[in-house]
């Protein structure tokens, strides 16, 4: 598979990258790890005339503690780095685990967290985790820096809030509450390295059997990864008995707009989401965490 020729620009700063992207117009693309972009270029789905690398911008791969108790994770930190960082494992084990479920080890050591999100794929593993954690995306473009709640970042089928010549510089990930129970469930039709048919991230905080906080998000089901807001509402403030959990599972199945593809039908996705919300929440309620 021979790629079409393109210009390769190595950025030293984020401003360099933004300027190179502006100069390249619609034909310019950001490259970080390349695990999504290069295959798309091989299949001529994308034909960029200019690639702007942000992989070597100093500081952009850093994983740092935030004063709030959370984390700031640089956009070009690899899935491997995020899943192995002690800081992430301690403060946000749900995210560390989800990053460790991405594809295979070789892809995890190349692909970056920011690249994963900017690709806008529904079946992203980190996306539902970051949605459940209510992370914030930090972008830098021609107009300077801005932030977008991750709940507003995914706007459609392979579409995101990223605007022309913008770069995802980092993510702010709030700390998980003390005592939070969590799970990322990746349901794949064949092997572990496949894309998720249902990628369900869940975080619950309980007072006894009563659910104080419920955070649920799913990837792979609809056109974009989404928060399961109605399922969360069905759980919060409630005793987590069988009937409540079943209502939440039904709410989740009812609020998604699943898609059909070769991996599975829309109805199969809806049914499997109902099953996995029920099992995951029941498991967390019983203390079978992660």
């Amino acid at each position: 598979m021979i790629l079409r020729p393109f210009e390769y620009v190595e950025s030293q700063t984020v401003d360099d990258a933004v300027a190179a992207l502006r100069g390249g117009g619609d034909d310019a693309r950001v490259i970080a790890g390349g695990t999504a972009l290069v295959p798309l270029m091989k299949h001529a789905v994308l034909r960029p005339a200019r690639l702007v690398s942000i992989a070597r911008v100093p500081g952009l791969a850093d994983i740092a503690p935030a004063t709030s108790g959370g984390l700031r994770i640089g956009g070009v930190a690899t899935h491997w780095a995020v899943s192995h960082a002690t800081l992430v494992r301690e403060r946000s084990p749900l995210l560390a685990y989800a990053c460790a479920r991405v594809a295979s080890p070789t892809v995890r050591s190349m692909g970056t967290l920011g690249g994963n999100l900017c690709y806008g794929e529904s079946a992203s593993d980190p996306a539902p985790a970051l949605l459940a954690l209510r992370a914030t995306v930090r972008l830098h473009g021609p107009g300077g820096a801005r932030t977008v709640p991750i709940t507003e970042f995914f706007t459609g089928f392979y579409e995101t809030a990223l605007q022309e010549a913008e770069v995802l510089t980092s993510l702010d990930v709030p700390a998980m509450p003390a005592g939070a129970r969590w799970r990322y469930l990746k349901w794949t039709p064949r092997a572990q390295e496949d894309k998720a048919l249902v990628g369900l991230a869940a975080m619950l905080v309980l007072d006894g059997h009563r659910c104080r906080v419920a955070r649920l998000a799913v990837g792979g089901v609809g056109a974009s990864p989404v928060v399961l807001a109605r399922a969360e509402q069905a759980l919060e403030g409630q005793e987590l008995d069988e009937a409540t959990i079943a209502r939440a599972a039904d709410a989740a199945a009812g609020e998604v707009e699943p898609m059909d593809d070769l991996q599975g039908s829309a109805e199969y996705r809806r049914d499997m989401l109902r099953v996995w919300v029920r099992r995951v929440v029941a498991g967390l309620a019983e203390g079978r965490a992660s």
Partner: protein, 163 residues
């Protein structure tokens, strides 16, 4: 605008510098610019792992990486494993366990195994198979491949304890 870039890197400890088209993939850079043919081209889309090499010690798919992405980095290919006249421990384990059939996937598996040992991973069975998910053997000779890597990882872990 220039579609050509200078790529300077180390491969198996030796420094190389070449001016190549920016669309040159790392696997083609290794094979065609440096004449290191041990790294194989398989699926060309990041699935089969025949092209696995180590980039600063981490396993990567060299068919998904552009040569300029590897600029300034240190690469290990299968040619860098064996010493003078002596097989690397992972190669010896593959030989002892009869872990290659056609051999096409072998260089990728060897480097994936070396990365596991270097990270101090001593897995076996299903957990090891999951770590090897990025490498496919079309002869389906997984039983002996997994056995060879189990042996090698045990040996590497033992060496660290004894050392």
């Amino acid at each position: 605008m220039s579609a050509r870039v200078t790529v300077a890197l180390r491969v198996n400890g030796r420094a190389y510098e070449r001016v190549v088209e920016s669309r040159r993939l790392l696997v083609d850079f290794l094979r065609h610019e440096l004449q290191l043919h041990g790294t194989h081209v398989g699926c060309e889309q990041g699935v089969c792992g025949a092209c696995t090499v180590l980039l600063d010690g981490e396993p990567v798919k060299s068919c998904l990486m552009l040569a300029p992405q590897a600029h300034g980095h240190s690469i290990t290919t299968v040619e860098g494993l064996a010493g003078r006249g002596e097989l690397h421990a992972v190669q010896q384990a593959f030989r002892d366990a009869h872990a290659l059939q056609c051999g096409y996937c072998t260089p990728g598996f060897l480097l994936a195994a070396v990365a596991l040992a270097d990270h101090g991973v001593a897995l076996e069975g299903a957990a090891l198979r999951e770590e090897l998910a990025g490498n496919l053997c079309r002869c389906t000779g997984y039983q002996n491949i997994v056995e060879a890597i189990e042996r090698y990882l045990r040996q590497a872990a033992g060496g660290r304890r004894d050392g």
